[in-house]
Subunit: 432 residues, 4 copies
């Protein structure tokens, strides 16, 4: 089957990393799933993704514990830690959780690290479907620069492909719909080769294609290498174009350059990924001085709107990072602005038109064929500016403000626009 | 005016470099123009481009003469060497040649080096339209790594823009339709900055926009930097994605990778450029042991067809490099295959589908909405292979061989294909 | 104690790598020791060094077996594989072998890899003299680029130093006199940091200083970084200035440049190291088509003399790589030329005087204050040349050929010299 | 003649750059010469060096004027600007100034840029002693990254050597004793090749050897490449190990590392160079708000002593940078401390002994065979510390403070020392 068909529009969902780090548990996953089903599902949100380290019994924060013991089955495959995911007991894996999430009308995703557990390699445990052992298929010097769990896998060996096949057979049996594979899209560890494991990307693609279940394939971390865009688009559905994104203006400002480099590569089934949305209640893995946990996003409201506007017109996947249950009204409003989400899900041809230091303009074509335009003030002061319609090949149009949900009237030549510091506006222009 | 409008399809023409090097003269330009008017114009070929060093009186080969005296007007602007372009006498510049070429129904292009002549800087001659002198606007350490004629220009100074404005005012007065600017797209001289003169690119864009005449802007040499694709597409009409291309298989093989990196950036007015076509009678600047000059292309016929097929489906500009008057029947047939030229001029969405070591498949959409497919054997042996229609989302189609000009019948599932070593085929598929 | 005192002259000995690779055994070590005692000891040869992988039971060639099980004691310390070193049974380690070697009037050395065994880290075994465990002191991302046995050790932790202290306590108890530490002098794995473990170098220095026994400290592999010469000279006795050296002319030719970069750093206790001498019977780990094992050096006789001459005048450590028991007469003569060995052991101030493409001249001061000169023909043809005495500040001198053991007479101005292709001569000049 | 003989001890002198920049004139040179003769000559100071841009008539500050007209003779050789050096009128060049300096018992030095004037190349003027012209011997793409005066010279051409020969013939006729050649020791312009003109270094060496006059050859700028130490020592007398050094603590702190990398290369005739001493009245080319010019060094007194101590024990050349006539008593005392200057001029074997973050210890052997030790507090707070004599192989010695000129008594084991922030002490230890 064409791998592009399982992600015809940018995937929308929730991911556990920004709020729970390495320590998310069953209860937290299901609480977010219930919130999504009740409040967000109608707007297109559907994936609940369990991020890194779910096989580590003692994970308790954002940290990975070096060389720690992981839960593993008899075939060298990592399985959920029962201490954190009680329903996985008895070899049921993530199946019970996936079932509950599916019952809510949602889909279920997991994170994995590229490779085979080091503990399997050092114990030389079996690999399913092959006589090769873990030790025999491990790549000798392929390690992740920031996590000690795995060795890379030599996919030129029959046993290497068999290992990945066995992984996705298991995930299919659990009912997984989305897999975020880490340590595979960019790495600075091996000099001069940031995209260092293309063979493992291909092996994973083949394993998914064989496993009998559609799964979205998301590659991390970034920044992905633009020169490798064809290989990425042939094999994956999403790939990170940035290192981890957090609620800092410098990172958001930088994203304009990243989107400028990648916008020609956006198309159905192939989504350059700006990373999770650090919105609402985040970092519950951090303890505050007063004993409470977590904090709300440090983005200003203007910056939050700017982020959503850029992710919309660029058509990044939308993966909410904050704890959904902690959403305040403003956060919820960002996730349920149907007019903005429509740009993200259904527009085409999003591209930069103006790229000045403090003024950025992007345009795209809406599903009805009309033009939408996003204008950004990346300066540190509020500004009054204008949008020049001639840049869009338009003389006269009626405009609608998609954040204010207001029709603004008819304009010729220019549209005036007032923008907060780091603020933005998205207008739909209708030419009659 | 929108700069994209002057190159709505990939520019087609002839360039003097591959046959005459630095030494082309008036007679040679006009002979090629007459040939084009008679034999090629009806197929879309229109530009006659005079390449590098036309202001050097003693140029006699492919070589540049270091530090040599160039012909220059009173405003520090290079002008044609009268010894080689007699009609330029009396300050008429390229106007008489351009007039003759226009009279043939063709268009005229010139090559320039980025910057201001070093001889102007050392003599401190005036710059038109400003009180700044050549010495004052020269960038101190900006030189070309392979030609000693110029210093870069500091466009942050008012006099810098004035200089470029004065150049294009002159070129407009000559009737120039196309400018190939060199030493501006890629450079390895200044470490870590291969795209080292974006300010001069912008100044040239502004100068063209002001000069009152449409001109295609072509940037050299390559390889252009993919990360700079937005800046290139905002300012230029063509940019080289390769260093100089000659008739060697390794260079042609490499072009598949280059096209794979750039295909998403192809669109009207914005043409990543695979460089001139080294076909037919070339290198007339080289003397042979027997006293004759030049030689025919060293590409096999299969390789020539492969080159034309790739340039077609990728939609590279087509600039013939060989001496047109030396064309044999086969060479002429390559330049007048209307079905292949239609793919180059009017197809959309050309992209790689399969990218294996010895087998490449590209597809595009023809102007009538049907699919065309180009299949390449990049191996060193002839092969019998097939095209899998399912890769194109097609079950059954009639096929036409665009090189053989033959209808091949109707196929389901696969189309068999026999390919020479380094050979290719282009089929148009019609789904009824 | 001053670490320089244990290597007042360049160490001379035998190392198992060039003939036995990773698979040397007790019998082979002792056979070479007996040969040395009988034939070489009187000439200053004294170290018998057991190279890499002595804790791997199944080592059978030059190869390391990835992730294989190693012999280890209860404190995470590697111990000899009993299968290969039977006398080590019962926890006696290398003590019995060292005793036998000492009884022959020789000294005993071993090779170790920087770091702590990965198997200790993954099993989380104890470290002697500390409550920290193997897992706690391992550096997370510090691995060797060519051997999978170890993780680097974090010496900023108390447990890290304790681990190294426990290693050298053990080696002292075995009677070790010389330690070659590998994966510590140069590494290309972590970009931009070829000398990547200076903290472990310092920890090893401290551990030796505490252990109660003098040991020569030799660092590998190379090429060492010249900028780090001070740190190397403060901590080690020898450090490799080259990657592995074998019997190939290009490697020997390259050594002239390496010596030219390092000669100012040669002094008692501090010996830049040109690596083992690939002479005589080598590579017994390779099986020949006829069932025999090994081969003799592929250096010509002229090249062997050139190597010995350069190692002599530069004062490199001299570690014979071939199997001593396989020595033919010529090989033995190279190792027992007392006049040449005297240059290596007792000269001072060796330095290049002429460094032309095909002609190199080095000079040094002999222990009696006279000058010795080594002249090299690095060209591929025999030459007749001369040595200009004025380059040495000498007008007239009697000359003695130290390879021919012949007095040549008295010379003024120049000394004529005939050199084979890749050949050399060493003359002692006596000014009366 | 052996080039080392003209600089048997580190050269001591004055250089015009730190106080007069590019604009020094005859009067200023002679005023400094007279001061030196009266106040410093007896302490070993002897060179008066006219730094960069003496052929530029309009030089008025620290700046070079891009592409400006320079004074040049009929053989493409730069000559002094008469406007600044009136005695050079009538083709006498620097001869009259040199004569006056020699009459004071001092020596005279000049600065030159590597290469041939660009104005000579563009005018194609003759080169003395050859039929080649300036244009023919210029290296096409060899330019200085910070000064626009010259092109490099192709010394593989006979005319290239002839040009350099003609330069030094001229300088010998002027009576020049010292030449500082710039743009030749380090360059970052051509990637990967910081020591980019070794052929021009060799040509200059040959030209000096032929010119009939001894001249010290000093190479700039730095940092020189340690790997090239042999080539440098074969050809030059001094070479900069640092980029331009000014009165900033970070630069002085960094010099400890530079000296640590270079100390083994110090020997008579071969002096790694820490650059000028930014002491006393400096930067007279800068105008102050109150109309005065210049300022005193921004080093604290402790830092000035630290600098002099390091330059002394490392044996750097000593070239005073401040205007001698502006010396206050403290500055003069630094330049006339005979005990410290003796360390610089006559000690041997200076080397680092301790190299900790805030504590550095260097030792050397005095001309009488006793040990001197320099101790440095590179921390930002005053400290009380000790010198451990055992590090020097000494049990008991009497100590003399060479800055205080006081005998301190006899010490066993350790010597206590009190050091200011960034301060130092130099003690001579006498073992009886």
């Amino acid at each position: 089957m064409d791998k592009n068909l399982c992600a015809p529009t940018p995937p929308m969902g929730w991911n556990s990393w920004d709020c729970y780090g390495a320590s998310v548990n069953e209860e937290q996953l299901l609480a977010n799933a219930r919130y999504m089903a009740e409040n967000l599902k109608d707007y297109g949100w559907q994936y609940i993704v369990c991020d890194i380290q779910w096989s580590e019994p003692c994970a308790d924060s954002q940290a990975y514990h070096p060389f720690t013991e992981l839960c593993m089955d008899e075939y060298s495959r990592l399985i959920p830690a029962e201490s954190r995911f009680p329903s996985s007991a008895g070899g049921r894996g993530f199946r019970p959780i996936a079932d509950k999430i599916h019952a809510l009308g949602l889909k279920f995703g997991i994170h994995i690290m590229r490779g085979i557990p080091r503990q399997a390699v050092h114990r030389n445990t079996p690999v399913k479907g092959t006589s090769a052992t873990a030790r025999q298929i491990a790549k000798t010097y392929s390690i992740c620069p920031w996590n000690t769990d795995m060795y890379g896998v030599d996919c030129s060996l029959e046993g290497g492909q068999a290992y990945y096949d066995s992984l996705f057979e298991l995930y299919a049996s659990w009912g997984v719909d989305y897999v975020k594979v880490d340590d595979i899209c960019a790495s600075n560890f091996i000099k001069g080769r940031p995209y260092s494991a293309p063979d493992e990307v291909e092996a994973i693609r083949k394993a998914i294609d064989k496993c009998g279940r559609q799964m979205v394939l998301s590659l991390s971390p970034g920044p992905a290498v633009v020169e490798e865009s064809f290989h990425l688009s042939q094999n994956a559905n999403m790939w990170r174009i940035t290192d981890d994104f957090w609620d800092r203006w410098d990172l958001l400002l930088d994203m304009f350059d990243r989107c400028k480099r990648w916008y020609t590569h956006v198309r159905p089934g192939c989504w350059p990924d700006c990373d999770m949305l650090p919105l609402g209640l985040m970092r519950l893995f951090d303890k505050n001085p007063d004993g409470t946990r977590g904090r709300y996003t440090e983005f200003t409201k203007a910056e939050q709107i700017t982020m959503m506007s850029l992710w919309a017109v660029f058509r990044s996947p939308l993966m909410m990072g904050g704890d959904l249950c902690g959403n305040d009204d403003f956060t919820l409003s960002l996730l349920t602005n149907r007019e903005i989400l429509d740009i993200n899900q259904f527009s085409t041809g999003g591209h930069p038109v103006v790229d000045e230091k403090n003024y950025k303009l992007w345009a795209c074509t809406c599903k009805d064929g009309q033009t939408a335009v996003a204008v950004f003030n990346t300066g540190d002061e509020p500004v009054k500016s204008t949008i020049s319609l001639s840049l869009l090949g338009i003389e006269k149009a009626s405009a609608r403000d998609l954040w204010a949900h207001e029709d603004m009237g008819v304009f010729s030549g220019t549209i005036p626009v007032s923008l907060d510091a780091h603020g933005s506006a998205v207008y739909k222009l209708t030419v009659s």
